[in-house]
């Protein structure tokens, strides 16, 4: 998106480069993934596809790890496979398009692993990254707190350096998967609160959940509106972390978490969460659907195509070592709008009453699931308002 003339500067910050070209190699990989999925997902209840990357299946993750499809771009010495960002992108989008249950390793592969790779000690890398790449190690994100959602700098959880490590006190909330995760990356204060620099004095820690649960960390379930347990409250009461739990540099927490959030927002999981519903709708409508349906399906398809191009461009920029945080925010915002519009547009093509109750057809169940979850897509990983504020800053407005 190159703007022209004297007014160009504002939008240059939001320029997208051309996405990396596909190659016989990427397309062969795509074929391989499709064959894997055809085999692995054979006979599965199709309505499970609506769970997208929230679907958790450790054995599926282990199989993906065995194929070399987790930690794909990481160095081989850490269990990675030194493949390109575009190759990784191919695997991700194929998984999402099929609604594969990738939730067990998703966070670790997307952001925790790269964070450790970038900021961790050699020992942290060697200990953890190979286990992630094998699909055997899941992560949760210890960021939000009761009074600190969008306003991450308001976090009050505090780690104090003591003999033998760090003593942590505070409460994290909305921690997805904390009850199942092997590790949490904890964002908290290690220095004094400064009104001059709200981002100073924060650090990240690598928390071994099994150890920590014996040591002052309590996980309390928060039941969601579907009656399901994904969220947790995580209470840290005099939790003693070993000295080597520190991830990266003390005081660099804000910088590290910002980079992590850019990764959290950058992938195709931010526009493909409702894709399986589109597939199911196409199945239900058939080729002779009325014109109204064709227009609606075509519109969603056109939007997906444009977004996929932008999303692959972000992947290319990551590969080239650029910092596409703004572009990722923009794609996530557009993508979340599309994911939500997909649900709203498709429901109007059918006379049905959505329900997740057993016994209903896949389309009814998937609509039910997505109607209840899609409103969260523009909250998780950065709210719509926060993302748009970032974009506005990129345009020079703030």
């Amino acid at each position: 998106m190159k703007a022209n003339g004297a007014q160009a500067d504002a939008s240059q910050a939001l320029a997208f480069t051309a996405p990396p070209a596909t190659s016989p190699g990427t397309e062969a990989l795509r074929k391989e993934v499709r064959e894997f999925l055809a085999c692995e997902l054979r006979g599965r209840d199709p309505s499970l596809g609506a769970r997208s990357w929230s679907g958790d299946d450790p054995s599926f993750s282990r199989k993906m790890g065995a194929r070399g499809w987790i930690g794909m771009t990481w160095p081989k010495r850490y269990g990675g496979h030194e493949r390109t960002a575009l190759e990784r992108y191919v695997v991700l989008e194929e998984m999402l398009a099929a609604g594969a249950p990738v939730g067990h390793h998703w966070i670790a592969d997307r952001q925790s692993g790269p964070n450790i790779l970038r900021n961790g000690t050699e020992e942290q890398r060697l200990t953890i990254l190979p286990r992630i790449a094998a699909g055997e190690c899941s992560f949760c994100i210890g960021m939000s707190e009761p009074d600190s959602g969008s306003d991450l700098a308001a976090a009050r959880t505090k780690a104090r350096q003591v003999n033998g490590g760090w003593l942590v006190n505070g409460t994290k909330v909305w921690t997805s998967g904390a009850h199942r995760a092997d590790y949490m990356i904890l964002f908290c204060r290690t220095g004094a609160i400064s009104e001059l620099d709200r981002h100073a004095g924060a650090s990240q820690f690598l928390v071994d959940m099994r150890e920590a649960r014996r040591n002052g960390l309590t996980v309390r379930p928060i039941i969601d509106l579907r009656g399901a347990h994904h969220f947790n409250e995580v209470i840290l009461q005099d939790l003693l972390l070993p000295p080597d739990a520190l991830l990266g540099k003390e005081g660099d927490g804000w910088k590290q978490v910002t980079a992590e959030l850019a990764l959290e927002r950058s992938g195709p999981d931010r526009f493909l969460s409702s894709f399986t519903l589109l597939v199911e709708a196409v199945r239900a409508l058939g080729p002779d659907a009325p014109e109204r349906a064709a227009v609606a399906i075509g519109r969603l398809t056109s939007h997906i195509l444009a977004l996929r191009r932008l999303s692959r461009s972000v992947a290319g920029m990551l590969q080239a070592g650029e910092d596409p945080a703004l572009q990722a925010a923009l794609v996530k915002d557009l993508g979340n709008v599309l994911e939500q519009e997909t649900v709203e547009a498709l429901r109007l093509l059918f006379d049905l009453e959505p329900s997740e109750q057993p016994g209903n057809p896949p389309l009814v169940a998937m609509l039910g699931h997505l109607i209840l979850t899609a409103p969260s897509f523009s909250l998780r990983g950065g709210t719509r308002e926060i993302l748009r504020g970032m974009i506005a800053r990129g345009l020079g407005l703030r």
Partner: protein, 401 residues
């Protein structure tokens, strides 16, 4: 060249579309200050190539900045043709950007041609640049010599047709066609004519038609042409292989998609700049969160349209299905309307004045989104293809390009 019947209106294929960069060797510079050969361009999307793109873009940017100023735009709205601008564009080789080398082209890629069109549109350049590019390409593909001057295409509306009949050893073209872009200023029109046997490409030269003036919302000529003319045999050829009315519509849609993306990028830049200048309630309106959120939405539509434009250009280059061109036009067309509305909302009354330049862009957006098929038409076509692909075929279809 093998000739085949077009595959019919519903099968939108531009299979062996706008790709013709077959030659090698040094070329006349596309725009005087920019010197580069075709070799480096062929290596694909290397960093070096992107630098070349930037040089081309900078040259185009300078040209339009110099020749498509406010006075030129206002004069064009009052009915004049910007001869100076057109001359500069022609001399820079932009009008020949899609021609094969043997027809006087420069081996430009479709992506580069789209880039030039974006920049021209960002300046609201009131000239038939896209039409001349496309008509020239069509004429050359049919094996006819490309005449100098402004060119355009006919017919462009679904119901219209121009009929070619053989009378003895001669040809006669007759009929009328509405909304022909820039017809009154065209040296010749590339007519995709209906003939008894198969579609023919007719080079209809000035004097062979009358143009009844009509305009689009931006004051760009969209004339009704009436033809009842004898055509020289040298000006008739078989239509390029597989190129029928549907393919013409898709190619026109790709041109308009690039233009929409270009105009939108300028609308965004103007809006961001204006928000930082305009003060209300004691501070620049850029400081109001509502304005910021709206500008972020505008930026999203701009990015989406730019992606759509790239997708359309890529689709025309390769062997891809016009599925992608249709999706691109629909996506960009949707953004055009939303973004124009947001920009006017942000600008307030000033944006509605003749004096302030925003309307040159927004009126084009409101026109171009309809021309060569609006969102409903293309989404229906894309949706039909998606439904035909079926649940198992949809994702493979989306990832084919």
């Amino acid at each position: 060249m093998a000739i085949a019947r077009p595959t019919g209106e519903s099968a939108l294929r531009v299979d062996d579309g706008l790709k013709f960069i077959e030659g090698t060797g040094k070329l006349t510079p596309l725009f005087a200050p920019v010197e580069y050969g075709i070799e480096c361009r062929r290596r694909g999307k290397s960093r070096q190539t992107e630098d070349m793109d930037d040089q081309l873009a900078d040259g185009a940017e300078r040209l339009f900045a110099a020749h498509a100023g406010k006075d030129v735009l206002h004069a064009a709205e009052r009915g004049g043709f910007p001869e100076g601008l057109w001359r500069a564009v022609t001399e820079a080789g932009f009008a020949a950007a899609l021609l094969p080398e043997e027809a006087g082209g420069f081996g430009t890629t479709t992506a580069e041609a789209a880039r030039i069109l974006q920049i021209a549109a960002a300046h609201a350049a009131p000239i038939p640049l896209g039409e001349t590019m496309l008509a020239g390409w069509l004429i050359a593909r049919a094996g006819l010599p490309v005449p100098p001057g402004a060119l355009t295409l006919a017919p462009v509306r679904k119901g219209d047709k121009l009929t070619l009949r053989r009378l003895g050893g001669r040809w006669r073209l007759s009929g009328s066609a509405s909304r022909i872009p820039w017809a009154r200023h065209a040296a010749a029109i590339a007519v995709l004519a209906e003939a008894d046997d198969e579609p023919r490409l007719v080079l209809l030269r000035g004097g062979g038609f009358t143009a009844t003036p009509d305009l689009n919302l931006a004051g760009e000529p969209r004339d009704m042409i009436t033809v009842d003319a004898q055509i020289e045999p040298d000006d008739v050829a078989h239509a390029p292989q597989g190129f029928g009315k549907a393919e013409l519509r898709a190619a026109g849609a790709a041109i308009r998609t690039a233009q929409i993306a270009g105009a939108l990028s300028r609308v965004l830049a103007m809006s961001a700049a204006y928000a930082q200048t305009r003060v209300q309630f004691g501070r620049p309106i850029a400081k109001f969160q509502a304005i910021q959120q709206n500008l972020a939405v505008l930026a999203g539509h701009c990015a989406a349209a730019m992606a759509a434009s790239d997708m359309a250009a890529e689709a025309l280059r390769g062997r891809s299905s016009p599925f992608f061109v249709g999706a691109a036009k629909a996506r960009a067309g949707e953004s055009a309307g939303i973004a124009a509305g947001l920009a006017h909302q942000l600008h307030g009354a000033i944006g509605f004045t003749q004096e302030y330049g925003l309307h040159h862009l927004t009126k084009r957006l409101w026109s171009w989104r309809e021309e060569f098929g609006n969102e409903a038409e293309w989404n229906a076509s894309v949706g039909r293809a998606a439904l035909a692909a079926g649940p198992e075929g949809l994702w493979p279809a989306l990832t084919a390009q």
